[in-house]
Amino acid sequence: MAESHQNDHQDNLAAVRALLPRVDPPGDVAADVRTWLGRMCSAAVTALPATGVAVSLMTDTGVLAVAMASDKLTDSLGTLQFTLGEGPCVDAFHEHRPVLVPDLGTVAPTRWPGYTAAALASGVHAVFSFPLQVGAARLGALDVYGSEAGELSAAATGLALAFADVTVEALLDAQGAVSDAANPGGLDGVVDGHYVVYQAQGMTMVDLGVSLVDALARLRAHAYSADRSLLDVARDVVEGRLRLEPDSG
């Protein structure tokens, strides 16, 4: 009997979470995030058909920079993109969508002239870049490199999306300085398809006068500290029962 091989994102998320430590404030959150990202890159290299994984984040000055990479070559290829201002990661970030290149050898020479030549010369033949984003809230991008040309299977794409989702959550929680230990279910992802969460995010942005990223971090922090699910908190916000205060939560 044929088994369904349909990708189960909850299983993927659980598997990815099981591989990774927690960002666990109070403590040095910045150092914790670096440790977390390092572990994530190593875990992703092992779990995915990849030879390198990097995370690039938007800095305070609004430019992208490599925050962590699984190895030196991946780090330098990531940095090269931002130096040249071209490459799959740059496009993924600015176009708000994944940029998946199974064979750099077939990319039009005009697309990323400097980057493509350098990557191929370094023995990288496939690059898959996934934006780290929730709607218009953008944090950076996750890059997956392969030394051989070849497509990511649907299962590998699903797993890469799970790594991106979990990375977004970790970054948000570090920003909101949330202890993951207080998270009861752990499955109430930011990317769970509950549109009420995104509406609440827009509302909280206005209520607090903060960025969209900060708004979601604050909502998650509030949910954790109140020991409630993000969805329940979002419903309260949208239905007018809850309004976060600038100095609360």
Binding site: N7, N12, R97, P98, P131, G135, A136, L152, A162, G202
Partner: protein, 241 residues
């Protein structure tokens, strides 16, 4: 249900073709498909769901709010005609909700309680890949005629073509890129609805109308405008205070 008047059908396809010419707005396009499908075959509620690449469907567009809730209900309970059309890649036509409890034990009673009596779902497909489904909810038990089904499937196919804007989607990579982009656009709209609702002290549905009207009056794409609402509100003094 009446088979479609050819003149009206021609108008709709001209409208669709007009939309597809330019750099168009994917959300507005999908909302137009659901609304026109509803009008053309006289089925009061139409919704559209897309594969999110994570093994689930996500809501993308609906002809009205009640349909939106029903679509979300199917996703939440992982059960219903849209999921069947998506998973099996086949059409669900003229399913009678009064006799559907064994097939959809949670969905059928919920849809019946909302006043619907029949349901149809058609896959959005690109060759052998199913990328989502179009869902129709009827308030009478009357059936879609074979001619109507063909027209609705044609609209579903047009929705697929519009979504996958690249002229030749040659591989899974391009499919993933386009779908993820469309899905994220929907999230941006919801964020902007929230921000507008709070700024003006109105409900999220009224906020959506406000966003849509402003986009039309200022000749801007809905998603682009929504993105500015939540990332750079100060540049929109007329809309965001």
């Amino acid at each position: 249900m009446a088979t479609v008047a050819p003149a009206r059908l021609a108008e709709v396809f001209v409208e669709v073709a007009d939309t597809l010419v330019d750099d168009f707005d994917v959300i507005e396009f999908l909302e137009m498909i659901t609304t026109r499908t509803s009008e053309l075959v006289s089925v009061p509620a139409v919704g559209l769901l897309l594969d999110d690449g994570r093994g689930r469907l996500q809501f993308m567009a609906a002809s009205d709010e009640e349909t939106r809730l029903l679509e979300l209900f199917q996703i939440q309970h992982n059960e219903g005609p849209c999921l069947d059309a998506f998973t099996l890649g086949t059409q669900v036509v003229n399913a009678d909700l009064a006799h559907a409890e064994s097939r959809w034990p949670t969905f059928a009673p919920r849809a019946t309680a909302s006043g619907f009596r029949s349901v149809h779902a058609l896959p959005l497909r690109l060759r052998s890949t199913v990328i989502g489904a179009l869902n129709l909810f009827g308030t009478d038990a009357g059936s879609l005629e074979p001619g109507d089904v063909k027209i609705v499937q044609a609209l579903a196919d047009v929705a697929t073509i519009g979504l996958l804007q690249e002229k030749a989607i040659r591989n899974g990579e391009m499919l993933t890129e386009q779908l993820q982009h469309a899905l994220n656009s929907r999230v941006v709209i919801e964020q902007a609805k929230g921000a507008l609702a709070r700024t003006h002290g109105i409900g999220v549905d009224a906020a959506f109308e406000l966003l849509r009207t402003y986009a039309r009056n200022h000749n801007r794409k809905l998603v682009d405008l929504a993105r500015v609402v939540v990332t750079d509100p100060h540049t929109l003094p007329g809309l965001m205070r």
